[in-house]
């Protein structure tokens, strides 16, 4: 228990909370209490914004809009219909969520600036409505006279009780955020944000994750807006406008994009900066801007990151968690029915800007065999893997997996049906441990979801099981000694093996390995070949893309050779090596010797 407190940022956080709470309880005057209440409201707003901006990595400019809508719903329902907090508050959350659901589907498809501008556009339309629809909203003056929070007759009329109530809700907000992000589901966001390609190839539905983040941010925004309306008793177009959005962005970046403590620290610092500089009168916003800019430049990972670094500098790094002591083999996805070939590609064709990267490729794979895919660079090997795993959609042709047509199916569905892969260029999350990188293989397949994450009590069993399966996969690749290290610091060859382990942890029926031996020395290559053979012994079909024919000779039962997007030879390794077309592709015209089993021998 003690070590839990001493790790990471928890101790300073607890101390700071205690200090603030003591200040609020014993020393605060009514004005301070009001300021602290505002801090709590902004903290809620930022906690919500972290989902879409920090966790999903999308710069939404609609957070102030959700805030404003929440405020207006509270204002309108409370003043026009006299409803109490228990009615207005849920409605104020439901309204923004509804808007997020409606606009989310088209808007979340947009990338980067297009997404930002679309969310900005939505915000401006809502702002116009609030100003123009003055019968209901009070126009530019807004709606005054919003009553205090009324909990079924218990009216929170004094500032102290409002302060406690708001911070009570902030704690609830923190808990929900903690629940969403602490387990396997939270790590799925991490992977999606860092590497979308790897995320889809591991069965994560990116559209779902982005949608969930957007909805959550809307809910928090609405809740914060409703509280603001009660606290300042008026709601006006200011609650919706760009200035508020800028404040929210600034708080999020300065506190720490993905950290719960960051939301609170960011909100408290920014609110107080303005208060402290008020004595400067006309110059106060200039000083505020300069101060915020300095924090932005000096603390690259936000205030939380800065505190953590300082702690690490003063007291050294806290010891990391231990690897799980038990491991568990990944269950293999069951086939849907009878089939002849585990994979059949027929006439697969794909062109890029007029150049045919794949030109009528056809081949089949049997259960449990190891097939080497060879060919000169640029012959279409990786492109073929990309088509099979659903990252590219072919122009023509068909791919059948276990008797089902998977042509054009999205990558995450293909992955869930049992095709796993590694990449030519490593796709791992550098700041997660090797174990957690491997464990992420389970997030899509085991259906880590929002509701499951929120309702998890105690340890996240999904994450624990995923880590046990990851441990088993790590054992199979012989990398257990480094599983707790962050991937970014591992040697190249080890990282490649982490990727293979991650593919195996999905429990695949077919695994596609893109140059797995690159960066390994001869001894390690032989070792890896032996390990890959055990996959096949377990019934997993393996396709290995490789230039290194020494490695393949020890491994593959069959070779398929591509050249300029076409299959030019397929069959037993010896026959393929002696095939004139293969020799010509590898060595050029005039060569007549079979390709030696080492790539590049003279």
């Amino acid at each position: 228990m003690l070590s839990w407190f001493l790790s990471g940022i928890r101790l300073p956080l607890v101390l700071a909370t205690a200090a603030l709470a003591a200040d609020a309880l014993f020393f605060a005057n009514p004005y301070d209490m009001r300021i602290l209440t505002l801090c709590g409201i902004y903290a809620l707003l930022v906690l919500g914004f972290q989902f879409v901006f920090g966790h999903a990595g999308a710069v939404s400019l609609a957070q102030a809009t959700f805030f404003g809508i929440g405020g207006y719903i509270t204002g309108i329902v409370a003043t026009h219909f006299g409803a109490g907090f228990l009615v207005t508050f849920p409605l104020s959350i439901a309204g923004p969520v509804l808007l997020a659901v409606v606009v989310g589907v088209p808007v979340l498809k947009l990338e980067e600036h297009y997404f930002s501008l679309a969310t900005l556009g939505i915000g401006l339309v809502v702002l116009l409505l609030a100003i123009q629809w003055s019968d209901i909203t009070g126009g530019t003056n807004g709606l005054p006279g919003i009553p205090s929070i009324d909990l079924a007759g218990l009216v929170l009329s004094d500032r102290r009780s409002v302060l406690y109530f708001v911070w009570g809700l902030v704690i609830v907000g923190c808990l929900i955020s903690y629940q969403v992000t602490r387990g396997l589901y939270g790590q799925a966001f991490h992977l999606m944000r860092e590497d979308r390609v790897a995320a889809s190839a591991l069965g994560l539905n990116i559209a779902h994750l982005r949608f969930a983040a957007f909805i959550l941010s809307a809910a928090y925004g609405g809740a914060a807006g409703a509280l603001m309306a009660h606290v300042i008793h008026v709601v006006s177009p200011e609650n919706l406008d760009l200035a508020l959005m800028v404040t929210c962005l600034t708080m999020t970046v300065i506190g720490g994009r993905t950290r719960i403590a960051g939301a609170i620290l960011g909100a408290i610092l920014i609110v107080h900066l303005r208060e402290w500089f008020r004595v400067l009168e006309n110059y106060y916003m200039i000083a505020y801007g300069l101060a915020a800019l300095s924090v932005l430049i000096l603390a690259p990972y936000g205030l939380v990151g800065a505190i953590e670094r300082l702690r690490a500098m003063l007291f050294g790094r806290s010891p990391g968690p231990k690897p799980p002591s038990v491991s568990e083999q990944a269950p293999q996805a069951a086939p849907a029915g009878h089939y002849d070939h585990i994979l059949a590609a027929e006439n697969v064709t794909l062109a890029f800007g007029g150049v045919r990267a794949l030109d009528g490729v056809s081949f089949t794979l049997r259960d449990g065999e190891i097939v080497g895919l060879i060919g000169p660079n640029g012959s279409g090997k990786t492109t073929l893997l990309n088509v099979i795993s659903g990252l590219y959609v072919c122009d023509q042709g068909q791919v059948t997996f276990r008797g089902r047509d998977i042509t054009g199916a999205p990558a995450h569905l293909i992955s869930r049906r049992g095709i796993a892969r590694t990449f030519q260029h490593i796709h791992l999350v550098d700041d997660l441990s090797a174990l957690d990188n491997i464990a992420l293989a389970r997030a899509g397949i085991d259906g880590a979801g929002l509701l499951k994450a929120i309702s998890t009590v105690g340890h996240d069993r999904l994450l624990e099981r995923a880590r046990r399966i990851a441990m088993a996969a790590a054992e199979r690749l012989g990398i257990t000694s480094v599983v707790m290290e962050p991937c970014g610091g591992l040697p190249y060859g080890t990282r490649r093996r982490v990727e293979v382990a991650r593919a195996i942890a999905t429990g695949p029926a077919l695994v596609l390995l893109d140059e797995p031996a690159a960066g390994l020395n001869e001894q390690e290559q032989l070792d890896l070949a032996e390990r890959i053979k055990t996959f096949a012994a377990d019934g997993i079909t393996v396709v290995v893309v490789e230039h290194n024919l020494v490695f393949l000779a020890a491994l593959a039962e069959r070779l398929i050779c591509l050249d300029r997007g076409k299959v030019i030879a397929a069959g037993l390794p010896d026959a393929v090596r002696r095939d004139p077309a293969v020799i010509e592709a590898y060595l050029g015209l005039g060569a007549s010797e079979p390709i030696p089993i080492a790539a590049g021998a003279p």
């Binding site: 800007g353 000169p376 660079n377 640029g378 970014g488 690159a518 960066g519 020395n521 030696p596 590049g600």
Partner: protein, 235 residues
């Protein structure tokens, strides 16, 4: 013969792991030198340190008898280094011609002359002058990257895996072309996985293994070394 490029005990770290440890090597004027080693052995790291993408932790880096460790990338290039990086990195939104032109620091006539020379070196590029960088095939991008590296008429050409993406025939042509480049007065440092071919076209070679130089010598001598045969030539 005074070295064109002199590297002494260069160490490069990525966070807590080293990528290069005490690498010492030199390239003289008028010679072609090969760097051989597996993927991840540190060849690209060495190149990136030479052009200044990476900051070495310790060690010396001298070019034309001048300490270049304090110079920015573009200053080192302008001293006479040409760099064709791993992964090609052509400018995707610029046309083939523009990709070449940006790298020439000379008058208009001279610019046209050098671009034409690149086109005569790679006739395939001449037919696609107005195509954008991203539209080229991998092999064409590789030719463009090499052509671009030659635009500044460098004293030293750094070629990081130039045969990647080229058909074997073309790869042979490019590697054979290295002799011509050397004859024209440009030294070449070549990183290449295809050891046999690299040794065939270079004068000397260094063998890198996990960030360390484990062997050095003339190409002919290395070809007969047991370690090289076993590790790379499969013999």
């Amino acid at each position: 013969m005074s070295g064109l490029l002199e590297i002494d005990k260069l160490c490069v770290w990525y966070g807590p792991v080293f990528a290069l440890k005490d690498a010492t090597l030199s390239v003289g004027s008028g010679e072609a030198v090969a760097l051989i080693g597996a993927n991840g052995a540190g060849k690209s790291t060495l190149f990136k340190s030479i052009v200044g993408f990476l900051r070495p932790k310790s060690g010396a880096l001298r070019f034309l008898d001048r300490d270049v460790t304090g110079l920015r990338t573009e200053q080192r290039i302008r001293l006479g280094v040409g760099y064709s990086p791993e992964g090609r990195r052509v400018f995707p939104g610029l046309t083939v011609r523009e990709n070449l032109e940006v790298a020439v620091f000379a008058g208009k006539a001279e610019r046209a002359r050098r671009v034409d020379r690149a086109f005569s070196l790679f006739p395939q590029l001449a037919t696609r002058q107005e195509a954008l960088g991203w539209q080229l095939s991998g092999g064409q991008q590789q030719m463009l990257a090499i052509g671009r590296a030659l635009m500044g008429q460098p004293r030293l050409l750094l070629l990081d895996e130039p045969s990647l993406g080229l058909s074997p025939k073309l790869a042979d042509e490019v590697l054979a072309g290295i002799r011509g480049i050397v004859k024209d007065g440009t030294s070449v440092l070549l990183a290449e996985q295809n050891v046999g071919k690299a040794l065939a076209c270079c004068d000397r070679a260094y063998v890198l293994e996990v960030g360390k130089i484990v062997l050095a010598g003339t190409a002919a001598a290395l070809r007969d070394t047991e370690e090289v045969k076993r590790a790379f030539l499969g013999g």
